[in-house]
């Protein structure tokens, strides 16, 4: 009855994987029951220091552990990057609506990720794999700045071998060791192997990347209502109370963070 909505529950850091120079994945084991739907986010507390929002990158069907992939980008995240295994962190949530998976049933699902934006998409990909017969096809397009910035290096080849999966990666800047595609992620969105009348596009990455990918998808024939975007806003409470994440007449934390382009296209400054 008197639940305190600001109180985090304890989670222990069980494992830390270095994904790239600036990105690490932390495996957390919550000490109380905790579950989430793919696309929902959590607030992670570093006790005595601060809190920041992250979308788990693990399969939501795994109940006892959560992976959180974190880029070293701000004051809290840089300190998180330095914590040792077995540290205690706090988690609150899950918050927001997550991906409406039912709406993707029977369709070609295009997933476009940029940089650390692949983190929430990994959780999505894993939950789609869990019920792959419900979807026609999974088309994955992933771009990173350089080969060294690619995350989930072990998982990606494994995903691409799965049935129904069509996966292409690209880097903005190539180097001698990189054998794949070179160019911005928009350059691998030509001639997509999807049936446009029956496809959805899901995009997650830095705002500028989402902007250009969205324009590209509209260009190739996706409808605004079939493009799903993860909006990044400054979230604090996660509960629709603190005001920080307001986007027009929405709160990103509770009405999102996933919106269709249709829902946000007429709002001002959505890519800022």
């Amino acid at each position: 009855m008197n639940k305190n909505i600001y109180k985090p529950i304890e989670a222990v850091v069980e494992d830390i994987i270095t994904e790239s120079q600036t990105i690490k994945t932390f495996t957390l084991r919550p000490k109380e029951n905790f579950s989430f739907r793919t696309g929902q986010f959590i607030e992670l507390t570093l006790p005595g220091i601060g809190e920041a929002p992250f979308t788990p990158s693990s399969d939501p069907n795994v109940k006892d552990k959560i992976d959180v992939t974190i880029m070293n980008a701000g004051s809290v995240t840089s300190l998180l990057h330095n914590i040792p295994k077995n540290s205690s962190l706090g988690i609150r949530g899950p918050y927001g609506k997550g991906y409406p998976l039912e709406k993707f049933h029977g369709k070609d699902v295009l997933i476009v990720g940029g940089g650390v934006g692949l983190a929430p998409l990994r959780s999505l990909v894993l939950s789609l794999f869990g019920q792959i017969d419900k979807y026609k096809k999974l088309v994955l397009r992933y771009g990173a700045r350089t080969g060294g910035d690619l995350i989930y290096k072990d998982a990606i080849p494994e995903w691409s071998r799965k049935p129904k999966v069509d996966l292409v990666t690209t880097v903005d800047v190539g180097d001698p060791s990189w054998k794949g595609h070179v160019g911005l992620v928009t350059t691998i969105l030509e001639d997509l192997p999807v049936n446009l009348g029956n496809a959805v596009g899901i995009v997650c990455g830095p705002p500028i990347m989402m902007k250009f990918v969205t324009m590209k998808l509209l260009d190739v024939g996706f409808k605004p209502k079939d493009i799903y975007l993860s909006m990044e806003k400054n979230m604090s409470c996660g509960l629709g109370k603190c005001g920080h994440c307001r986007l027009g007449s929405y709160y990103t934390c509770k009405d999102g963070p996933v919106f269709t382009y249709e829902e946000v296209k007429d709002l001002h400054d959505i890519w800022d």
Binding site: K7, E10, G48, K233, H244, S249, D272
Partner: protein
């Protein structure tokens, strides 16, 4: 329908004294008792011998300051079993005005509704008795009527006081209010028709005076305002008015309807280890800044507009009414003399010129 009573001035005084035994009692105190119709009123906790004063208009502090605080701990970390919601104190607040009650609906909407209830807020709300009063005067900045809010409340209080020459009409507005009267029967008598007529005459008089005061100001109306804000998004109004903004956040902190806060963590070295909640201001530069550094509200003009779109677009969409109660507090507090009435009027004028 609830009951309505009369209490003589001395009876109300004694009632307030009784209340002090049951709860913390706050009432407005005149800054300058010599000029009760010009001075400001500030809330003060009544002690043994402070007398109850009747404020003719709203206090300086917003009503919200009894329910969320500028800076407070709202949760312990997981290592503590203590529940902070269990330690709220019984509180009685005199001197609340109609605008405060209207503004407080916004706070209730934010903290009591939506995805989850803030149980700390709810506990304070449940433990608080609101004793409001009719306005018998107004400040220059008062413009409740522009938002169709009357200068006397008709709901949202536990008890409401309407002053007459020798005492007060006491209108009950809730079960809590009725219980309080029942427990203190001796201080209340049945109201007479002549007293009700007296209240009506006084109410009509303040209404007429306030209407006259607002008439020549030509204020933007409740049903126009959302359109105005939407259509005025790209006007120069924002750039022009922001020139004087020093980003103090005063307009937000003093506002009855502003509710933004920041959750922070107190340092492990301090005893207060846990989650802190601090009032926040959308006029601060980093209000909307994300971890990567992007900031959709980079300029003061964008932030001024953000404050207005929140009040007059977001809340109209989400609650069906603008989030301003016309209390004028933000006008009085602003060191840059930015006047919410003038900003809205400027938008309206500029749009008219464009047509």
């Amino acid at each position: 329908m609830y009951n309505i009573y009369f209490a003589k001035t001395e009876q109300l005084e004694s009632f307030a004294k009784e209340l002090k035994k049951l709860a913390r009692v706050f009432a407005p105190l005149a800054k300058d008792a010599q000029s009760p119709k010009q001075t400001d009123y500030l809330y003060q906790r009544l002690c043994e011998d402070t007398a109850l004063a009747f404020n003719p208009y709203r206090t300086v502090e917003p009503l919200k300051s009894f329910f969320t605080y500028k800076y407070e701990k709202v949760a312990d970390y997981f290592n503590s079993a203590k529940n902070l919601t269990d330690i709220t104190e019984k509180t009685v607040i005199f001197g609340v005005k109609s605008c405060d009650i209207a503004g407080h609906k916004i706070q209730d909407f934010v903290f009591l509704e939506g995805v989850e209830v803030d149980s700390l807020y709810r506990a304070r709300r449940e433990n608080t008795i609101i004793i409001s009063g009719d306005c018998t005067d107004f400040k220059e900045v008062c413009h409740c009527l522009a938002w169709e809010i009357m200068p006397f409340p008709s709901a949202g209080f536990d008890l409401n006081l309407s002053p007459l020459n020798d005492g007060f009409i006491v209108e009950v507005g809730s079960k809590k209010g009725q219980e309080l009267v029942n427990q203190h029967k001796d201080y209340f008598t049945p109201v007479k028709d002549t007293q009700i007529a007296g209240r009506n005459a006084k109410r009509q008089s303040i209404l007429d005076r306030l209407k006259r005061h607002l008439l020549f100001q030509n204020l933007v109306s409740k049903d126009q305002v959302q359109n105005l804000i939407r259509e005025g998004f790209s006007l120069d109004t924002w750039k022009e008015f922001m020139l004087n903004c020093v980003e103090c956040g005063g307009c937000n902190f003093i506002c009855d309807t502003c509710h933004c806060f920041l959750l922070a963590d107190s340092s492990q070295k301090q005893q207060q280890n846990g989650k802190l909640r601090l009032w926040d201001s959308c006029q601060y530069k980093n209000y909307a800044r994300v971890a990567g550094g992007a900031n959709p509200q980079k300029t003061r003009a964008a932030r001024l507009r953000f404050r207005f779109t929140k009040k007059f677009d977001f809340f109209v969409d989400n609650l069906g009414a603008p989030a301003c109660c016309g209390c004028g507090r933000c006008i009085e507090v602003c060191p840059g003399k930015i006047d919410i009435r003038e900003v809205l009027k400027d938008l309206a004028n500029k749009l008219k010129k464009q047509q």
